[in-house]
């Protein structure tokens, strides 16, 4: 992969993290292709071949439905999210599709408590490169932290 694209990919990962941590949901949706898949799944289901996910959105429209839910209908305790993401590994790059993975850790902070390790896992991504633009075809967040601390409201 050329350096330029590698840097762009690194930026995409950093921008994604910044957007979700800033609760900028429009931005979040904009990282995805029209046709896309976003999946947050316990490692157990992933490894045992069970299809169930914790979140499974299979179009950009569905991501927007989620945004509406987060904003308008889902009652939840406010919390801060903070992503720290490792360097991406390029698994493949063919036909304008990058396959990449990265480890991530998400920390959750509620107002009057300590920051806790909320969700750690691995991104498994397929990214479409189109000229200057990188868009997720799919982002799977396969998480180790199977016992969720009550609930996951925001995307990982």
């Amino acid at each position: 992969m050329d350096m330029q694209t590698y840097i762009k990919l690194t930026n995409l990962y950093a921008d994604y993290a910044a957007a979700v941590d800033a609760e900028d949901w429009e931005k979040w949706v904009s990282f995805f292709d029209e046709e896309c898949e976003y999946k947050v799944q316990p490692r157990e289901n992933h490894e045992r071949g069970f299809p169930l996910s914790t979140m499974w959105f299979i179009s950009r429209n569905m991501l927007e439905d989620r945004v509406y839910g987060m904003r308008e209908t889902l009652f939840h305790d406010p919390y801060y999210q903070r992503h720290v993401v490792g360097a991406p590994r390029i698994i493949g790059f063919e036909d304008g599709i990058i396959e990449a993975e990265a480890n991530y850790a998400v920390f959750r902070t509620k107002y009057d408590g300590a920051s806790v390790v909320f969700n750690v896992g691995r991104y498994i991504d397929r990214i479409r490169v189109d000229g200057d633009e990188l868009k997720f075809k799919s982002r799977h967040c396969i998480y180790d932290s199977e016992m969720i601390a009550n609930s996951i409201i925001y995307p990982i």
């Binding site: 169930l52 569905m62 305790d77 009550n150």
Partner: protein, 420 residues
């Protein structure tokens, strides 16, 4: 000094008859909680363990818990289902560490005592000592009998592919335990078809375990808390609905039917969670297909006291296992399933609808949250009490949702058993 009530009552007593006012200490007291474990989870009740479909093959096992006690569900080599306490008969190690798998026998790693999949002690290393220079050294005493040192075996009940177990072998039959009416709803869901496991979701909810039972016995909240339902017109207070209990009022079923034509404005008046009707953008989230086995109801939520909820919400079916952990938290394990004869479309439909439920679900994530903050409320003033008087003070089956009768019913049973 002053006539304020003691905020932390020392010997809490439930004042008066009835159960429409529930003292907060019933959710926070450590000693009471231990008693609940003893009387509900470890004695006289059938507790949920899992689905047979989780251990399809001989040698398959699944590790889970009843109350706070680790148990193993195995399928033995004869195809039978066993539930065994995960504590070694030798020196007590909780020996089984994997969550699931397949084994020929159970072995405790510490000293290699090994057991059959039924829990029978089969082998003890150096049982008869070691021979040396013609002498026997060490070994277990003559009186030691392997068959007196099996693992703790629970009594097991299976029905429709669901596995329950009881530490007390004298417990009434599973059918009697549910009672005819609840059993009917149970059989509606588990009618003998083969189940297909779709996967798990797990969450730890920092609230008293009874709050989860209450939540699913509370038809008052869905139309108020779960704005999502209302936003997309999925829930209406005038949907046809009924509430059913067993004789002892410990179990319940909330039965509802969508698509009642007589829209009444009244039912969403004064509900601040009402939002101007929205269009869902990806229709697949609400792509509901009626399945023949439903009969009339489109959703039935069963609360089996104390340990499990059986959920059928349109095309999404799951068991929700309550695993208490201290008075102020429980683990909540969702097992989503389908049926062996589901088409790929139906499987995808169930999976997409799963977005509504579970730890991130459009209408379940908030249940976990309200439970957490109910517990916070209780802890700050244990002397206070909840008011559960919607629909009056009594306990009875109803044909509507505007009542907290099921909650009163559960506490009626609770007071009786707990002798509080």
């Amino acid at each position: 000094m002053s006539n304020m009530p003691a905020v932390f009552p020392e010997d809490p007593v439930w004042q008066g008859e009835g159960t429409s006012r529930i003292p907060f200490w019933a959710y926070t007291d450590e000693a009471l909680y231990k008693k609940e474990l003893e009387r509900f989870f470890y004695d006289n009740h059938w507790c949920y363990v899992g689905l047979e479909a989780e251990v399809p093959e001989p040698g398959d096992f699944k590790r889970t818990v009843i109350g706070e006690r680790s148990v193993i569900m195995t399928r033995d080599l004869d195809g039978g289902i066993n539930v065994i306490e995960n504590v070694c008969a030798h020196r007590g190690m909780q020996f089984c560490r994997e969550r699931s798998g397949n084994k020929k026998e159970l072995v405790c790693p510490y000293h290699q005592w090994n057991y059959s999949l039924k829990g029978d002690l089969q082998g003890v290393p150096f049982l008869r000592g070691v021979k040396r220079d013609g002498q026997v050294q060490g070994g277990m005493p003559k009186e030691f009998k392997t068959k007196e040192n099996n693992l703790n075996k629970l009594r097991v009940a299976t029905r429709g592919g669901v596995v329950f177990a009881s530490f007390n072998h004298e417990v009434e039959s599973f059918e009697d335990f549910l009672g005819p009416e609840i059993l009917g709803y149970f059989d509606r869901l588990f009618n003998g078809r083969k189940l297909k496991i779709l996967g798990y979701n797990r969450q730890r909810i920092p609230g008293n375990w009874k709050l989860m039972q209450e939540n699913i016995k509370d038809p008052y909240h869905p139309g108020l808390l779960h704005t999502w339902f209302i936003t997309y017109g999925l829930w209406r207070a005038d949907n046809k609905s009924s509430l059913r209990m067993d004789d002892k009022h410990r179990h319940a079923a909330m039965i509802s039917t969508r698509g009642n034509a007589q829209a009444k404005n009244e039912v969403t008046t004064g509900v601040t969670s009402f939002k101007e009707s929205m269009e869902i953008k990806d229709k697949r989230l609400l792509d509901i297909v009626h399945e023949p086995w439903w009969g009339e109801p489109t959703a039935v939520m069963m609360t089996i006291f104390p340990s499990v909820i059986f959920q059928q919400q349109v095309n999404s079916v799951s068991t929700r296992h309550i695993q208490p952990s201290g008075p102020d938290a429980f683990d909540f394990v969702w097992t989503h399933f389908g049926f062996e004869d589901d088409t790929p479309e139906m499987t995808q439909r169930r999976l997409v609808q799963a977005n509504l439920f579970g730890p991130a679900g459009f209408v379940s994530a908030d249940d976990g949250e309200v439970i957490e903050f109910s517990q916070s409320g209780f802890e700050q003033k244990p002397y206070h009490r909840a008011v559960a008087e919607l629909g009056g003070y009594g306990v009875e089956d109803t044909e509507h949702m505007v009542t907290e009768t099921l909650i009163r019913g559960m506490y009626e049973y609770w007071r009786k058993v707990m002798e509080v």
